[in-house]
């Protein structure tokens, strides 16, 4: 039953996300983004649903010791990174 398997997988994924979300909003968020260090409770609660949805990405950042949010990638920033302009 494809539908049942899909829903079970979705449920397990979100449950893992919830388990991950608690330590993440308390400790992890400020590790990967210094601006989250002083975030109030409202902020921490607001990001929990997103953490449940995107936890593998955040787990990887936290585990690999990333300290800052990523720089966005667009044509100008890519071109600027290639070398110092004259």
């Amino acid at each position: 039953m494809i539908a049942a398997a899909f829903l079970i997988a979705l449920g397990i994924y979100l449950a893992c996300g919830l388990v991950f979300a608690l330590p993440f909003v308390l400790v992890g968020a400020k590790r990967i983004d210094p601006h989250a260090a002083q975030g109030p409770w409202g902020f921490r609660l607001l990001i929990i649903p997103g953490v449940m949805a995107l936890w593998p990405l955040l787990l990887r950042r936290w585990a690999t010791g990333v300290k800052e949010p990523p720089e966005e990638c667009n044509a100008h920033r890519r071109a600027a990174r290639k070398g110092v302009a004259p």
Binding site: L7, F43, E72
Partner: protein
């Protein structure tokens, strides 16, 4: 803006926005429910609420989708864009309540798991009325959830604006799914021409506005695209441009094309560049705001800073850096002014690198004084002059 995150950055305009939003949604729900109850006293309350919340969410989604192209066509609608994410989260919550009521009413208390029932209780038998419409709604709600869950600035920063925007572009998938959800759902049941007409009108409005705005964008982009090769000076210009082209500077526009404290947008190095004129100087920066990739070139210099038209993020025109304590940075471009024309080097400087502003020389000023203000082809002039 690059300082500590808070739950919601309240200000007067956002409170006004939310008051209208909550008032409008409440009015919709109350009017639909009361009128239904008065006209059809035997209606099941849950179904009445399912319809109130479902139609309310669908209407709100239409409004949300129209705000984008409306702002492209007329910047005076930008206040509607300013706090659009609260409208988006509200739309998701209305959809969630609709879905929860549907699951409780139509699926709970049966011999099957109520969520699984959404997928297995609609066998297809070849007729239009048997198309399983509820899974469309389920997947649309998942997309709206992803968008609502990542609406905080924390996600913009940590996903980076382009990734965040790509994720939020899924709203069009959600909209398509919801059109199917409604077409194969309540329209099959109610069959009223007004229901069919309303959905069709909504679809035509959303598509029409998007196509109009997109065609305008494409036309403006093709007009303002510059390449080092294509911009080689023509014979008449060769005298004034020979020097800059030797080291690859590109003739971007005339100084007179740019209004004071505003910008002209050109396409260079694969992206738009905003060339600002202020206090007798010219500076060029990447057109892309770091916050939500808003079009900085449609912004304005306010208190000495380039100000994004979407959420008011600010950057110093020479350094491309936000004034302290904010930390946003955008790439800058080296510029020159010669004989009334602006030359931009196509190689962007790393974000936040100071590029010396070009001073508008005497000849440029004289030329500017005599120029006719008919050069309004640029995006920014459009943005600025639109009544």
């Amino acid at each position: 803006m690059g300082v500590e995150y808070v739950s919601v950055q309240w200000n007067r305009q956002k409170k006004f926005y939310d008051a209208v939003l909550v008032g409008g949604v409440a009015a919709f729900l109350v009017i639909f429910s009361v009128l239904t109850k008065v006209l059809f006293p035997r209606v099941t309350d849950e179904i009445m609420l399912i319809r109130a919340f479902g139609t309310g969410a669908f209407l709100l989604l239409h409004i949300i989708l129209c705000i984008g192209p409306l702002c492209r066509l007329n910047p005076q609608f930008l206040p509607l864009l300013y706090n659009r994410r609260h409208a988006g989260v509200t739309c998701f919550l209305l959809g969630l309540i609709h879905a929860a009521l549907v699951v409780i009413t139509y699926h709970a208390g049966s011999d099957t798991n109520p969520i699984l029932s959404i997928f297995v209780s609609s066998p297809i038998n070849g007729s239009v009325s048997s198309v399983p419409f509820q899974p469309f709604g389920f997947f649309a709600l998942i997309i709206l959830f992803l968008m609502a869950a990542t609406s905080h600035d924390f996600w913009l920063a940590n996903l980076s604006a382009p990734v965040w925007k790509s994720l939020h572009m899924l709203v069009y998938v959600a909209y398509a799914l919801l059109v199917l959800h409604v077409t194969f759902g309540v329209i099959q049941g109610e069959g009223s021409p007004l229901y069919v007409g309303t959905v069709a009108l909504g679809l035509v409005t959303v598509l029409g506005l998007h196509i109009t705005a997109a065609r305008r964008e494409v036309a403006l982009d093709s007009e303002s695209r510059l390449t080092p090769h294509a911009s080689r000076p023509t014979e008449s210009q060769s005298l004034v441009t020979s020097s800059p082209t030797e080291d690859e500077f590109v003739d971007a526009c005339a100084v007179a094309d740019i209004s004071e404290n505003r910008a002209r947008i050109v396409c260079l190095s694969g992206e738009r560049v905003a060339i600002f004129k202020y206090e007798g100087k010219i500076s060029a920066v990447s057109n892309v705001c770091q916050h939500q990739n808003g079009p900085l070139g449609e912004g304005k210099i306010v208190s000495g800073c380039i100000t994004c038209p979407w959420h008011g993020y600010q950057y110093q025109p020479d350094t491309g850096a936000s004034p302290p304590p904010f930390v946003e940075k955008i790439p800058t471009f080296n510029v020159r002014v010669k004989n009334g024309r602006v030359f931009v080097h196509p190689k962007p400087n790393p974000a936040g690198t100071r590029a010396k502003p070009a001073t508008i020389d005497g000849s440029s000023r004289r030329e500017e004084a005599h120029s006719v203000t008919g050069n309004s082809e640029s995006l920014v002039t459009l943005a600025a002059t639109k009544k």
